[in-house]
Symmetry: C2
Subunit: 232 residues, 2 copies
C-alpha cells in the first residue's frame, strides 16, 4: 500500500486503510479489527506517511458509523504515531445520513466532506444540500479541517459556495475522487480541468487526487505531474 | 420567449413551455392549462420553432406525471403544428420515480433522460443507475428518441456507457443543463470542456445547451459560438 516516489516537492502521503466498498471476501485490503488498522497505519507511519484516513467497519464488515470505533483507532494512532494527522471518513453508502457525522465530537484533525450527490455503482451517494451544510457546521464547531471530496464537477462549485457562506474556512483542502463507476471516471483531461477550475474559483486551495482501487497508480502519476499531494 | 439569431448554420430552436420549478405565483412563465400550452407552442411553431418540450402540471401547479395530460398536449400540438417534434419531460422533482416514465407509451418523438443524480436547490434530483437503465429501455421499446440531459459531468460518461451497453442508440442527442443551484453552474469554461469531452467519447452526438431561467441568453450565445442548437 506504500509506494515511494522520487520527487523534488514535498508531498503529503496519505494512508487510507479501510476502503468503503470492498468486503474481506472480495479483496484482502479492508481491515475490520481496529487493532489491525492501528498496526497497519503504524507501519505506514514508520515508512513516512503523515496522514491516516480512517473509516471503520462493523463485525460483519459493513461500513460503520460507531463513534467508539473511530475513537479507538484515533487513540491508538495518536499513541503509536505521534504527529500523524487523523482524518475521519464520513462517507458510508448504506449508512444512515444522520449518523455519518456522529463521530465528529471526537475532534479528529480532519474529516471528509462530500459537497453534493452523485450516482455510485449501486445507487445514489446521498449528500443533499442541507446535510452538507449540517456536516460543514459540525466540523467548524469541532475545529476539524474538512477534506472536501469531489466525486463530480458540481461539487467543486458547491465547495466554493460553502466558503462564500462562511460554512468552510479558506484555504480549503480538496480531494478529487475518480474512477467510481457512475461518478467521474479516471481521465487525465478531467483532472486537468478540475485543477484549472479550482485555481479560478478557490486559488488558495490545496488538493489531492484519489482513484478507487484499480487506477490508483495512474492518478498518482497525474497528481505528481500537476503538482498535488499523493494518497496511497 | 422567442429570440431571433442571425447565424449561418441551421439550428433547432426548441420551445420549452412549462419549466419544472417555478409556480404561477413566482413568475408568469409556467402554463398550467393544457389549452394554454398548446396555444403557446402553436405561436412559437408559427414563429419557426421545430421542437416542443413538454412537461405538465397538476391543477395546484405542481409537476405532474399524469399520462393523460401529456396525451392531451401531444394531440393538440400534432393537430395544430404539423411536423413539430414532440418531446416529453421525465424530470419532476417531487414526482414518484416509477411514475416519471409512465407516459412513454404515448410514444412521443423524444423524451428527456437524465443519466445520473445531482443536487438541486432543495434536495437530490434522483436518477439512480437502475432507474436510468429502466427509462432508457422504455424509450427503446416505444421508439422514442432520448434527449440526454446532463446536469453534471459524470452523466456524460454514463451516457456513453449506456450506448456501449446497447441501452441507447447512437448517435445520441445531448442537452447540457447549466445554472441550477447545486448542479453545474453556467460557466463558459464548463461548456467548452463538456463539448471537448463529448467529441472524444461520443463524436457522433448532437448537442444543445440550456440554462435555467436567468442565464438563458448567455448560454445561448455560447452555444452558437461552439456550434450547437438553441433552446428558448
Ligand atoms: Zn478510505
Ligand atoms: Zn504499533
Ligand atoms: Zn422545460
Ligand atoms: Zn392553434
Amino acid at each position: 500500500m506504500q509506494r515511494i516516489y522520487k520527487i523534488s516537492n514535498p508531498v503529503i502521503i496519505t494512508v487510507a486503510m479501510t476502503g468503503a466498498i470492498p468486503r474481506k471476501k472480495d479483496c484482502p485490503g479492508p481491515l475490520v479489527k481496529t487493532s489491525e488498522q492501528i498496526e497497519e497505519i503504524h507501519k505506514s507511519f514508520e515508512a513516512g506517511a503523515s496522514l491516516a484516513h480512517i473509516h471503520v467497519r462493523n463485525p460483519d464488515e459493513s461500513p460503520s458509523s460507531d463513534p467508539d470505533l473511530y475513537a479507538i483507532v484515533q487513540a491508538g494512532i495518536q499513541k503509536h504515531c505521534p504527529g500523524i494527522i487523523v482524518q475521519f471518513l464520513t462517507r458510508g453508502r448504506g449508512r444512515d445520513q444522520a449518523a455519518r457525522g456522529g463521530m465528529l465530537f471526537h475532534r479528529p484533525d480532519m474529516a471528509s466532506l462530500a459537497t453534493g450527490s452523485v450516482n455510485f455503482p449501486n445507487g445514489i451517494y446521498e449528500n443533499p444540500p442541507d446535510f452538507v451544510d449540517g456536516l460543514a457546521s459540525e466540523m467548524l464547531k469541532y475545529e476539524t479541517k474538512p477534506e472536501i471530496e469531489i466525486f463530480d464537477l458540481a461539487m467543486l462549485y458547491n465547495a466554493a459556495n460553502l466558503v462564500e457562506r462562511g460554512l468552510l474556512k479558506a484555504p480549503v483542502h480538496i480531494q478529487f475522487v475518480m474512477g467510481i463507476p457512475n461518478a467521474m471516471p479516471a481521465r487525465c483531461s478531467i483532472l486537468e480541468f478540475l485543477i484549472s477550475e479550482l485555481k479560478t474559483v478557490m486559488p488558495d486551495a490545496t488538493w489531492t487526487a484519489a482513484d478507487v482501487a484499480r487506477h490508483q497508480l495512474t492518478v498518482n502519476e497525474w497528481t505528481l505531474e500537476l503538482g498535488g499531494h499523493i494518497r496511497t
